[in-house]
């Protein structure tokens, strides 16, 4: 009886763990998608911006988004192929 209960608790824990990991992966993928959208938006916005300084700032923001995307992607790969 005790053994049965123990196995049940273990499987619950493993299931929970699995779902937590999946949840985390889903979140990361969503964030990467968001970054992708932002990147496209910025790429469209930059050439239209007349103010030189703002253009420069948006360019830097694009670099930041790219770096974030690269970092996120790297972490995603690590999570998917541990």
């Amino acid at each position: 009886m005790k053994r049965k209960k123990l196995l049940q608790a273990l499987s619950e824990l493993l299931g929970q763990k699995k779902s937590k990991k999946l949840k985390h992966l889903d979140e990361l993928k969503t964030l990467l998608a968001k970054l992708e959208v932002k990147r496209i938006e910025l790429k469209e916005k930059i050439p239209l911006e007349k103010n030189k300084r703002k253009r420069k700032r948006l360019g830097k923001e694009l670099e930041v988004i790219d770096a974030q995307h690269a970092k996120g992607l790297k972490n995603l790969q690590k999570l998917e192929n541990p």
Binding site: T30, L35, E63, V64, I65, A67, Q68, K71
Partner: protein
């Protein structure tokens, strides 16, 4: 308006006097040299303040009697009650002296100043004082040119004494020859009208010359030459005593309430003493005659008798006023109450807001926003920029280039007024609330405290930058003007960007936008360094200017970085705060440096 008329009128009258009377010229030159000597003497003693003199002052004022004695001795040595008053006011303002001790010194200084009358009457008129003046001046001037502060101080004291002696000599000479052409004693006024009239003249002369000592010397030399009567000379001495309070009053105008109270005490003491001396002048004359005969002063030695009179009536003042000292202090504290400084106080940091973590963080956040606004304002004003212009779409570069001078806005005063009170309260509030909370709120509070520190640093760095900026923006050196304009333009644009980003996103900033702004700021700094390197390499700027620019470009960079950091804590939202996944896309310092390297 009146001020503008007084000086030219006085100069014209003096010029006319010099033209018609060479003796008047000699006497006036004597007064001028004497006053210059006083200035030198003060300068000399000032060199020793902050050290031995200050330590002595602290030790010697532990009781009222000691304070009075200290006033007597220090004024006798320095021969300047004004200097003693000014030092006392500064000590009082700094809270190093009590008002009672300060008043004690002033009482003593009044008695100490009478030694001047003794020296002049007993020594200055009987000895060829000019013979001592010359060596003192030579030694003094040689020492003034030395680099050691102490030797310089001694030099000023020697030169000061030399000029004092020379001044007395000229006054004496002037009056001696004056009596051959005109007898001023004919204009003497007898009785009480004379006493009142000459007291008023004494007050006026002292107010104009800013020195009772000078009035007294003038009176004694005129008395010795028989140009004024003994009775009128006594009234002049009383007037000089009352008039001398003007120096303390002028000195206290810029002092705090404690300094003003001390000047008030000086005025009360000298006025009461003067009133007693006028009321009992004939009785005092009898006492002077009796005392003079006791100590062997000749009956017709009016100059020494004047010195006796001067000492007696000041001593009388102390005897009358000393028992009333505590009442005087209470009265002065009542009529000149401590003004509470107009300092911005926290609005949200209440005891109830400290009870819950959420409300505590919110309260500190709202206060920090106030500090942020004040800091932005100080940075903009401190660098001589117009707030509306910075926060508009206008061409800031052109507007700054057109500016030919920068008003040196008092950053320290604005910091004290608008930031310090709130900042201190925030720090105290966080220290009170953090100990029991080991949750997220505690981290938030720490971050907010750091944000405040960044803002305070931005203000302090602006202060560092301000002096050179004001100097070079107003200079003819186009290269330096351009370089400093570029520095403030970069800061102005950061402020504009921050406000613009906040406005366009409803008050919430995106971390990636702030990181982008940080990269722009870092790039600006790199460009500044490169441009500066070129300027120094080409020899377009001097090494001194170059080093100023290097330091100031660092300050400018720090100001921008500090403002961005504070904005990040205050207004930015980040995915990492919300989810664990967000932390995996968040860029740290090394990631940002990597981007900057790639951009090169």
């Amino acid at each position: 308006m009146l001020k503008k008329i007084i000086l030219p009128t006085m100069l014209l009258i003096l010029a006319y006097g010099f033209w018609v009377s060479p003796n008047f010229k000699a006497i006036s030159a004597g007064v001028a040299i004497f006053l210059f000597g006083m200035l030198s003497l003060e300068e000399g003693f000032r060199a020793f303040t902050g050290g031995a003199l200050d330590r002595l002052l602290k030790r010697a004022t532990s009781s009222t009697a000691k304070s009075v004695l200290f006033g007597v001795i220090s004024t006798s040595v320095m021969q300047s009650s004004s200097l003693v008053s000014v030092i006392t006011i500064s000590f009082l303002s700094a809270g190093l002296l009590t008002l009672t001790a300060g008043i004690g010194i002033i009482f003593g200084a009044n008695l100490g100043t009478t030694t001047g009358a003794w020296l002049i009457a007993g020594f200055g008129l009987k000895v060829n004082i000019a013979a001592y003046a010359m060596p003192l001046l030579v030694f003094g001037i040689i020492l003034i040119f030395q680099s050691s502060k102490a030797l310089k101080g001694v030099g000023y004291i020697f030169a000061g004494l030399g000029f004092l002696f020379l001044g007395i000599h000229y006054m004496k000479e002037g009056f001696e020859t004056f009596k051959e052409t005109i007898n001023l004693a004919e204009y003497a006024v007898a009785g009480y009208p004379g006493v009142l009239l000459f007291t008023a003249i004494g007050i006026f002369a002292t107010v104009v010359m800013q020195s009772s000592h000078a009035t007294l010397v003038l009176t004694i030399t005129a008395l010795a030459a028989g140009q004024i009567t003994y009775e009128n000379a006594l009234a002049l001495a009383i007037g000089a005593n009352v008039g001398t309070t003007i120096t303390a009053i002028l000195g206290a105008m810029s002092a705090n309430e404690a300094g003003k109270r001390l000047a008030g005490a000086h005025l009360v003491f000298n006025s009461v003493t003067g009133a007693i001396a006028i009321a009992f002048i004939y009785q005092l004359v009898d006492v002077v005659n009796w005392l003079s005969s006791m100590v062997g002063i000749a009956n017709d030695d009016y100059t020494l008798k004047l010195a006796v009179f001067h000492t007696i009536f000041n001593l009388l003042g102390i005897v009358v006023m000393l028992p009333l000292l505590n009442k005087l202090v209470v009265w002065l504290e009542k009529i000149l109450p401590e003004k509470k400084p107009e300092v911005d106080q926290p609005m949200y940091l209440s005891e109830s807001s400290a009870e819950f973590p959420g409300t505590a963080v919110q309260a500190v956040r709202m206060e920090t926003e106030r500090v942020f606004k004040a800091a932005l304002r100080i940075v903009i004003d401190g660098l001589g920029m117009n707030k509306d212009l910075v926060l508009s779409d206008a061409d800031l570069e052109k507007a700054l280039e057109a500016q030919t001078r920068v008003h040196q806005f008092d950053i320290d005063a604005m910091y004290e007024r608008h930031i310090k009170g709130i900042y201190s309260a925030i720090v105290a509030f966080i220290s009170r609330t953090q100990f029991s909370r080991r949750d997220e709120s505690s981290t938030d509070l720490q971050l907010l405290r750091e944000a405040n520190t960044h803002l305070v640093e931005a203000v302090k760095e602006t202060e560092q930058l301000q002096e050179n900026l004001a100097r070079y923006i107003g200079s003819d050196n186009e290269i330096m003007r351009e370089a400093y304009n570029r520095l403030r333009l970069q800061i102005g644009l950061v402020v504009r960007d921050l406000e613009e980003m906040r406005e366009s996103s409803g008050g919430v900033l995106d971390v990636s936008s702030l990181n982008a702004l940080r990269l722009v700021v870092d790039e600006d700094r790199k460009h500044n360094q490169e441009a500066l390197g070129e300027l120094i390499g080409q020899g377009t700027v001097t090494p001194t200017m170059g080093s100023s620019l290097i330091n100031d470009s660092v300050f400018a960079h720090h100001i921008s970085r500090d403002l961005i950091r504070a904005a990040q804590t205050l207004f930015a939202t980040s995915e990492s705060e919300v989810t664990e996944a967000g932390q995996q896309i968040e860029l740290d310092e090394s990631d940002l440096n990597e981007i900057a390297r790639h951009s090169d």
